[in-house]
Symmetry: C2
Subunit: 377 residues, 2 copies
């Protein structure tokens, strides 16, 4: 990918999502009354309309717009679907303040056979999910404000108190058991309040098994930190939590992943957002995040046995070459690491540290990295 155009980010969002949906409906109705071809403006959510905001260090959506019109055979179906999703979200927002539904439920609610035809409104959930994202981008709102959620995924533990007024709950995340606090899919300030913390930093780990080891070893207590896992690529709720811990509570964020292209990609999504969800990077991205490890350079640095490294396959090599071209992997430290990986020809997973001994990660690796501030940018 060529270097991206540089712009400043000013993301303004609607204050009243329901009103915006009503306005969208009125607009379409107005066009119909004037016997015009009904038309909805949508931001282009594609590589061609992505920018890297140098000031805020986030991947953001540009200002190219596309038109979705009813009287265009290539658009008609999506036009109908967009209005159906909008209408259902308005209904959700009207029912009671506290009603949310899952994006899978929404698909089922809206799936029906169009009377007098054999055609269905939606065939697969993969048809309705992007329409939801279209609507978010078009209305300058968030899925959460449309009262939609996905499955819960991430967990955290550590010195923080979290309140969920809707459920009348207040959770002291130092008093939890093996599973910690499940980070809700909707993690906005009105439903999930970060009441107080005494933590010094946030450690995000890619893998649940490592998170469990850190929880069992009371790493969060000994190092006074909040430990989070997204269980692989973090979902939106977990990324929003990381963003808020950094933005609201001013906590430094360190990310720990496998030393492979997938781990580095997870870090980059946590840090500067993703291409697909570029319109919410300001909410989901955490530009101040730092990469604590693993790196392929750690193998020598920490004397990790060679036999737990994994040989790169062709996919790894191809992806690594791509990443060298990404604007957000341009810092020389990242070029050095990715080139080093390609040179030595191997990757390694976090669990590889267990080959040293079972508590090596909590007693040696992490404390040393944090003490020396041995981070990648």
């Amino acid at each position: 990918m060529a270097p991206l155009m540089v712009i400043n980010m000013t993301v303004k969002r609607t204050e009243n999502t329901k009103e915006s949906i009503v306005d969208l409906g009125k607009d379409v109705l107005g066009q119909l009354k004037k016997v015009q071809n009904p038309n909805i403006s949508l931001p282009v959510r594609a590589l061609s309309n992505i920018k890297f905001d140098e000031k805020n260090k986030l991947i953001i959506l540009g200002d190219k717009m596309s038109q979705r019109t009813y009287m265009n055979i290539a658009h008609t179906r999506k036009f109908m679907q967009t209005l159906m999703v909008a209408a259902e979200c308005k209904k959700l927002l009207s029912e009671t303040e506290n009603t949310t539904t899952s994006i899978r439920d929404l698909y089922y609610i809206l799936k029906r056979t169009i009377p007098g035809t054999t055609e269905n409104t939606f065939e697969e959930q993969s048809e309705s999910d992007p329409i939801i994202e279209d609507l978010e981008a078009a209305l300058s709102t968030l899925r959460e404000n449309l009262h939609l959620h996905a499955d819960q995924k991430g967990s955290l533990v550590g010195p923080i108190v979290i309140e969920e007024p809707k459920f009348g709950s207040e959770t002291d995340c130092m008093k939890l058991g093996a599973s910690g606090f499940g980070i809700p899919s909707i993690c906005e300030p009105d439903t999930v309040k970060l009441k107080s913390t005494t933590a010094d930093f946030v450690l995000v780990v890619e893998k649940d098994a490592v998170w469990q080891r850190l929880n069992e070893d009371r790493f969060w207590k000994n190092h006074n930190c909040i430990v989070i896992t997204g269980k692989g690529q973090p979902d939106r709720g977990t990324r929003r939590m990381i963003n808020r811990l950094n933005a609201e509570l001013k906590l430094p964020v360190y990310v720990l992943t496998d030393a492979d292209v997938w781990g580095y990609y997870i870090y980059s999504v946590i840090k500067q957002g993703s291409i697909n969800l570029s319109f919410v990077s300001d909410r989901l991205g955490t530009p101040e995040a730092r990469f604590i490890g693993l790196t392929t350079q750690d193998v020598v640095k920490f004397d990790i046995p060679k036999n737990v490294t994994i040989k790169l396959n062709e996919g790894d090599k191809k992806r690594a070459a791509e990443m060298l071209n990404y604007r957000w992997f341009r810092p020389k430290e990242w070029h050095h690491e990715i080139n080093h990986m390609l040179k030595v020809g191997h990757k390694l997973e976090l669990e590889a540290l267990s080959a040293k001994n079972i508590r090596f990660i909590t007693e040696k690796y992490l404390p040393e990295k944090i003490k020396k501030k041995d981070f990648l940018p």
Copy 2:
């Protein structure tokens, strides 16, 4: 599959897992001292050695044994792996009482290149996982007692207080937020204590999105029950929790899945255990569980729109035909349902109920099924 041999179940387990490992080691050592070919006896964990215990209504392991010997070129590698896993588990059990590790970690700990060769002890985690199960079965113990865990998966909410002494935590599962209580992967009485409950029954739902709807609608409060999800096929921790809620607290268990062969299979695994883990069916199975729905017969019964049903594919039809032959789907009500599915040629997912309206499942479907005791056995 032909009807299975009927026997009575008497599963005896070792009281001291560490001692059993030491005995296994001493046994092998004794054989070596006598210059015998070292040999370990293992139960055969295959379809040929599975029985359906008619008295206890569980799938259980028979008494066929196989020998894993060192001086047999087909066994040597697995023999070595078995002793390596046993030795590492003994180390885990010796370190401190509270040390557990993940089955993925164990793989990494044990993976190494055998000196003087280019051969690795283990190549993939899929090599070490079955060895762990072999060892469990051979020692008549449980993975949990070997201090091994997998990733945490299931959630519950409702009127129950759960204590985890190891973490110094006590959780009132009525005071939780959107994510509920994450059921630990190790859910044994010494680490997860079911302190008290006022619930009338347990509702197990296949899907997280449905569980979230039930939590949001306070279904557990209005119907005084514990609501659990395994997020698909429940893991061992969740199945053990269901088993214990039934066995220890005498709570009836109702299971809610999609109306498809996968949903019915999930129910059967919760109820009578699985072939692969037949040696722990007494711990993981809940023979008293009842199937609350969905069924393909519900489409007419609850006037569910036809267009949210999904056409059966060839895989569905083949699997349904197989299930008709399983001993544990022999009750006439199940034959009737499976044949009905094949006749109407469609399946449906839980979210299909949302097509009626968003709260249909909590306000109409479940209350009516429970009131009428409209269950499959």
